[in-house]
Symmetry: C2
Subunit: 426 residues, 2 copies
């Protein structure tokens, strides 16, 4: 089963919008075990959309065309599909009713243009719209193949594809093998370090042939270094079994640098640890300038455990607000004093401190990338590490953020003193 | 002159990477006045890359193929171009020398694979590489058309395209008209409000025909609402003159909601105002959780004027650390007390305060999107506004951030009390 994605929109060609929909669709198709060999982008031009759809249908079993379903004169995806099918557009009464209801419910007059959205190629089926009365999706049979038309607004696209397109594709694919993926997120080793830890196992998988699980690495900055496991099987149950077994093998080889699976972030992991232990948190930041705090408040329910933070960017703020002893501010002692100071000032159980050199210039005699991290839990002995982080200012800040939260994770697991591998450590 | 972009990489089709290169190239081509009617994406497969290049050459004068120039077996863009040209690959001695030098300089052994990067289709020219010894770009004539091969790493791509590809395209295009663009960034009115302010002028431009300047709008969240002016002319000097004249007209119609042009952010604008006035700044944040501070420290030289901030996420932190009087925390009084409190605590000239409801639930009886902003400059009367911001948690935080900095901008300009239009204000 092969499916092609066609993205429609002159604004995509002009670079006014980055096409995130094609990548999202690619991931969904890959996870569903459906091959995708090509992608196309075309502007809002009837002949070119028709040409792109015909080309896609010549080499794929199904086509997802994304965008151009709105109410304006520019939105001509429906017309192009009708041309490819060789049928006229006809008003769909159900869709028309829903559009009228939407405007009536808001007490607004409906611009005549909006009725364009109720036009459906003869023989096609409108997918009932997730947001009543907005651009509905279409399922359009073309011989024994199919064109799905989906809106370009990501939230509507996701809902229509998950709810209607993927299930329809699965039905058409019939006995397609199930392909299942899981991503392990790691922190504390470099990409080459990860590859080294897994080299022998990957060689074994390679020798076991094409039916064996596959592993891939992806560096994602503040999101960690990801290891993606992919397995194939004849059915869901076997796929789940195989992926569980492979995850266990990989976790045994990687140890505790694995901090989460799939969409879970480092913030979610430490949030859960703090919540389950009934601990509150405060953060003192220097070079990260509020980045750590702004990531933490993105976790739903953060107000249960996050007290707040101090961005002590100027050295005097460290001395006067956080009671840091005067001296060089890029040091382990300063990181610990910041963590202890913010913990006490904000009345939290746990304090974090981070100070360092984002670059491009050295500071206190330390080169760019030097970062001191500290965690203070209650009256326990403070935990501190020094890391050397690669990259420019923005990268150093991102990596400092996840490194600090990872130190908190390790400390709460009772593994203090266990420092990350993969960077030179003092 | 028409140019097509072909993006190569199986990871793009699988959605493991979002294709930002095609959008960037699209913008560069549009700015250079070169048409782009189609985009293609293919995986690391020789036949498919050849097919994509042949299709692109059949409908465009030039093709930029992006990615697949690295040293591994997967990197086969060179082979595909050679096949399209009908010529063999030959070692380029200059490129080979640079690769050898790079490894020698680092005292590292060169893996044999790396010599693949020195292979060039006969008749093609290697673009000298910006990072010596890494994937060089290629200029490959195909009849009277041309294929440019450029690396997929964005920084290398940008350098090679700006330095070699765009100039070569301009030479080939010959007497193409100069197309020049300028973006005005605005804050304080909605997209439809902007359209309304400019409606009559845009009608006039429309009637003046295709040679007249064109205007386009783009909403960019924390980056503001952008108005892009594009003009055409026979030469650079005339283009510059026309764009200056049009900018003046648009600025007259929009007034002081225009805060910057092109790449300048709101942070840069307030940084310059603070620096020129010799003022230092401190920020107290509640719902934005450090986002404002983390944006401010991205401005080069922020340490000259940014003292730091307090993230007073828990209400008690507002009361105990910032001396906010106890009471409902989503209020103008709290925003002002936060601004005054952080100004005094951190010893700054100017204090900012922001408190509100990010959602999804109401807080203190206020609906999601309610945000109070405050600016306190020295002993002046505090300035505060209440805005109602649209969108989910993340959008409300982003819009609160730029709204707060815009209030600072207006206050420093001596226009206090002048509140943003476009949202319901209390």
């Amino acid at each position: 089963m092969r499916c092609e994605v066609v993205a429609v929109g002159t604004e995509l060609l002009l670079g006014q919008i980055i096409d995130t929909n094609s990548a999202w669709l690619g991931e969904q198709l890959a996870l569903a075990g459906i091959d995708r060999t090509h992608g196309q982008t075309v502007g809002d031009n009837l002949d070119r959309i028709v040409g792109a759809l015909e080309l896609a249908l010549s080499r794929a079993d199904a086509v997802i065309v994304c965008g151009g379903l709105g109410p304006t004169q520019d939105d001509i995806t429906r017309d192009a599909i009708a041309a490819v099918m060789g049928v006229p557009l006809e008003a769909d009464d159900d869709v028309a009713d829903r559009i009228l209801e939407r405007f009536a419910a808001r007490g607004r007059r409906m611009p005549a243009n909006n009725m364009r959205q109720a036009m459906v190629p003869r023989g096609a089926t409108a997918i009932s719209d997730p947001q009543p009365g907005t651009a509905p999706g279409l399922i359009c049979p073309v011989g024994d193949k199919v064109v799905y038309a989906v809106p370009g607004v990501p939230s509507e696209l996701h809902e229509i594809v998950r709810g209607a397109v993927l299930p329809d594709l699965a039905r058409r694919a019939g006995s397609v093998a199930v392909i299942s993926s899981r991503t392990l997120r790691t922190w504390g080793d470099s990409e080459s370090g990860l590859a080294e830890r897994l080299a022998e196992h990957m060689r074994e998988l390679d020798e076991a042939g094409p039916a064996a699980p596959t592993l891939a690495f992806l560096a994602s900055g503040i999101e960690g270094l990801k290891v993606r496991i992919t397995v194939k099987a004849d059915d869901e149950a076997t796929a789940a079994q195989r992926i569980d077994a492979e995850e266990k093998l990989v976790r045994d080889l990687l140890g505790d640098i694995v901090f989460a699976t799939d969409g879970d972030t480092m913030e979610h992991v430490v949030a859960e640890m703090l919540t389950s232990r009934g601990l509150t948190l405060a953060v003192a930041e220097s070079l990260t300038g509020g980045l750590v705090a702004s990531r933490l408040v993105n976790v739903p329910g953060a107000s249960d455990w996050f007290r707040g933070g101090v961005v002590s960017y100027a050295p005097e703020v460290k001395f006067t607000v956080l009671d840091v002893p005067e001296g060089p501010v890029v040091s382990a002692g300063t990181a610990v004093a910041m963590a202890a100071g913010v913990r006490s000032l904000l009345g939290a159980d746990v304090g974090l401190g981070v100070t360092g050199v984002a670059g491009p210039d050295a500071l206190d005699g330390e080169p760019p990338g030097t970062v001191h991290l500290a965690v203070v839990v209650g009256d326990d002995e403070p935990v501190t590490v020094r890391v050397m982080l690669p990259g420019g200012r923005e990268t150093v800040r991102q990596l400092a953020c996840i490194s600090l939260l990872d130190l908190l994770r390790r400390t709460l697991r009772g593994r203090r003193g266990d420092t990350p591998r993969g960077w030179p450590l003092a």
